[in-house]
């Protein structure tokens, strides 16, 4: 859907790049997750892809055509759901949807059916005529999504669509997005919730300091990074002596306070090797984890940051 090559963008006189030589492929018909800590360049990248700000250099092809030259056309098939609740709280869902449908320039004969589709998809029927400022957090997010669907988008761009809502509403929205994707809509999804991204996205890109650190299918990335990871969680904090003696037996990837991580395809052999030494040291194993890395672990490894902490920077 999008082919981005060598995209760069900098602001102000300092010329500090916000995006630096970004090359990215957003495949059609997939759910594409864009991850990155705050200040990584996510918003700038999305804004350029939506034509809201201009780039300094590079090329962006949307459906095979240069985006800048076909911006108005591109916007006709892009549905945008911003993080903010971008509608009029004084108005009902009915009034908001009719206003946006008209502002978008939908043909008169199509307005009713398209609004009906949006309302049904997002489950707003019961609340259709109520003033939207009275809605719960989940309903507000659903109305925000419904407006993004008014133009029958081929591409839906969602910026943190599940912020501040309860698990049921979150699940409803995630299922709705998956359902829309199954109908052929390409989705660009940004979120701080890694488990959501891992749950619904097919492809991801991780961006930091304006550069794409990694991109591809989620399962490929996790497999490539992790193979098989054995995590041993102890009840006690490991001493220097403990670490030195354990390191002599196996190749340890990481030591944390009470945890050691070992990349291996044969966890039984590793545990057999370690067991006598652990017993002799008086350490107690509290928990064992074995399997692929999850997305959050991948993210931390790639960015060296905790995403949720960085949100408060």
């Amino acid at each position: 859907m999008y082919k981005i090559s060598n995209l760069s963008k900098s602001y102000g006189k300092s010329g500090q790049p916000v995006l630096n030589d970004v090359t990215l492929d957003i495949p059609q018909g997939r759910i594409f997750g864009l991850l990155g800590p705050n200040g990584a360049g996510k918003t700038t990248l999305i804004s350029i892809l939506l034509g809201l700000i201009s780039k300094n250099s590079g090329t962006i092809l949307f459906k095979g055509k240069e985006l800048e030259q076909n911006l108005a056309e591109a916007r006709k098939v892009i549905g945008y759901v911003p993080q903010e609740l971008a509608y009029y709280p004084m108005l009902s869902a009915h009034e908001n949807l009719h206003f946006y449908a008209n502002a978008f320039g939908l043909p008169k004969e199509k307005i009713a059916s398209q609004i009906e589709f949006c309302v049904e998809t997002t489950g707003l029927q019961q609340f259709y005529y109520k003033r939207s400022q009275t809605y719960s957090g989940g309903l507000k997010r659903r109305l925000n999504l419904a407006i993004g669907l008014l133009n029958e988008p081929e591409l839906l761009c969602l910026d943190e669509p599940t912020v501040g809502i309860d698990p049921q509403s979150r699940n409803f929205i995630l299922e709705t997005i998956q359902g829309l994707n199954q109908q052929g809509i390409t989705v660009i999804y940004t979120s701080h919730y890694m488990e959501e991204v891992q749950q619904i996205c097919h492809n991801v890109a991780i961006i930091d300091h304006g550069m794409i650190l990694t991109q591809g299918k989620i399962e490929d990335l996790l497999r490539r990074q992790g193979d098989h990871l054995l995590s041993i969680h102890f009840s006690e904090v490991l001493s220097k002596d403990n670490i030195q003696s354990l390191q002599k037996l196996v190749t340890v990837t990481h030591f944390h306070n009470r945890c050691m991580e070992i990349v291996t395809q044969d966890p039984l052999t590793v545990l057999t090797k370690l067991a006598p030494d652990i017993q002799q040291s008086g350490l107690t194993i509290e928990r064992l984890d074995f399997g692929n890395k999850n997305l959050e672990e991948l993210f931390l490894e790639v960015t060296q940051k905790d995403l949720r902490d960085s949100a408060h920077e």
Binding site: L52, Y80, M90, F104, G105, I147
Partner: protein
Amino acid sequence: MNRFLALIKKEIVVLSKDLHGLFVLFVMPAIFILIMSLAMQDSFDEHSNVSIEYALVDNSNSALSQQLKDQLKLISALNMQEIKQDQFNTNQLKHDFSQDTFKFALILEKDFSQQLFQGNAEQNEQDSAIKVYIAPTVKPNLRRFFSATLRSELIRLKIAATLAQSDDEEFAPSMDAVEKMSKVDINQAYLYQDGMQQENPTAVQQSVPAWLVFAMFFVVVPLSTAFIIERQQGTFLRLRMMNVYPTSLLSAKIVPYYFVNQIQMLLMVLVGMFIVPMLGGNSLNGPSSILGLAIISSATSIAAICFALFISVFAKTTIQATTLGGISNIIFGALGGIMVPKFIMPTYMQEIATVSPMSWGLEGFLDVFLRNADWTSVIPESTSLLIFAIICLGIATTIFNRQGVS
């Protein structure tokens, strides 16, 4: 539906559901006009109930001092309270002045009658038989009024007394005869553009145009607040993504707020015509030219809205917008003769006042409400207002385009 019409319709619906906004736009100015018209009624009324309280101490106790007191008592604008000589002291007077019991104290000394005929031999004000103490809060025009009234009564008294002393019987008139002799008729009339009229301009005739202009410019508060909230909520961003351009977003605000201003104008005029008289005030006379009123009202409205749009794009937060918009309006109002009539300003301030768009609006409204002018009289003010509007809108559009929408 046309996109632009959809934006206008949305604006009207949102506005109609905003009770606070409607209160600010319609009810507050109406109440304001009501209060100002009633409060200022006496200052425009020749038969005003307002009277100036003053103390009189008669140390002379003569026939002439009694005569003066009788004359002064007949002046409705002055309310005398006589204080006996043994009860009067300056400390008590200071206290009375501080309590606003009196504005003046008139002291007639023992040699009042003698000095009235012979004058002050010492030629020294300190030794004058007539002393006036003035409260510090008294404004110069009130002091001049009191002084002129007192002088006038003293002259009349002196003429009467002088003639009464004459041996010639022909010149021994009564006070009534002096009254007749000293009476000089002056035919006073306000000169309007459509001719002379005996009727005085009333408080409501003066206040409605002034506060109407002020109210119209106050659209800056609801408009800029709504604008900034829309920007912060991302609705502009969303509309931008729907290929709605910044110029359309700004222009769509003009139409609904134009109608708001026209309804404001109609409401204020109706308040002046019907509600103020019901509460004992004077009635507002209708405009001399409906077309003139429509032109100046439209021009003022467009200027006010474009100024509000300029503030909206310039301010980053609603607090900034309301502060900036509110203070600008108050400065425009103070400069433009809304709060302080221009005619009492010093010359240089009157010249500065001409830079305020509220002054142009006010002059235009005064043309049709007070000067009985025809529609052509409001063209210069309307042109100035429209030029101001174009400049504001031009700057607002440029900034808004550069800002993008976020």
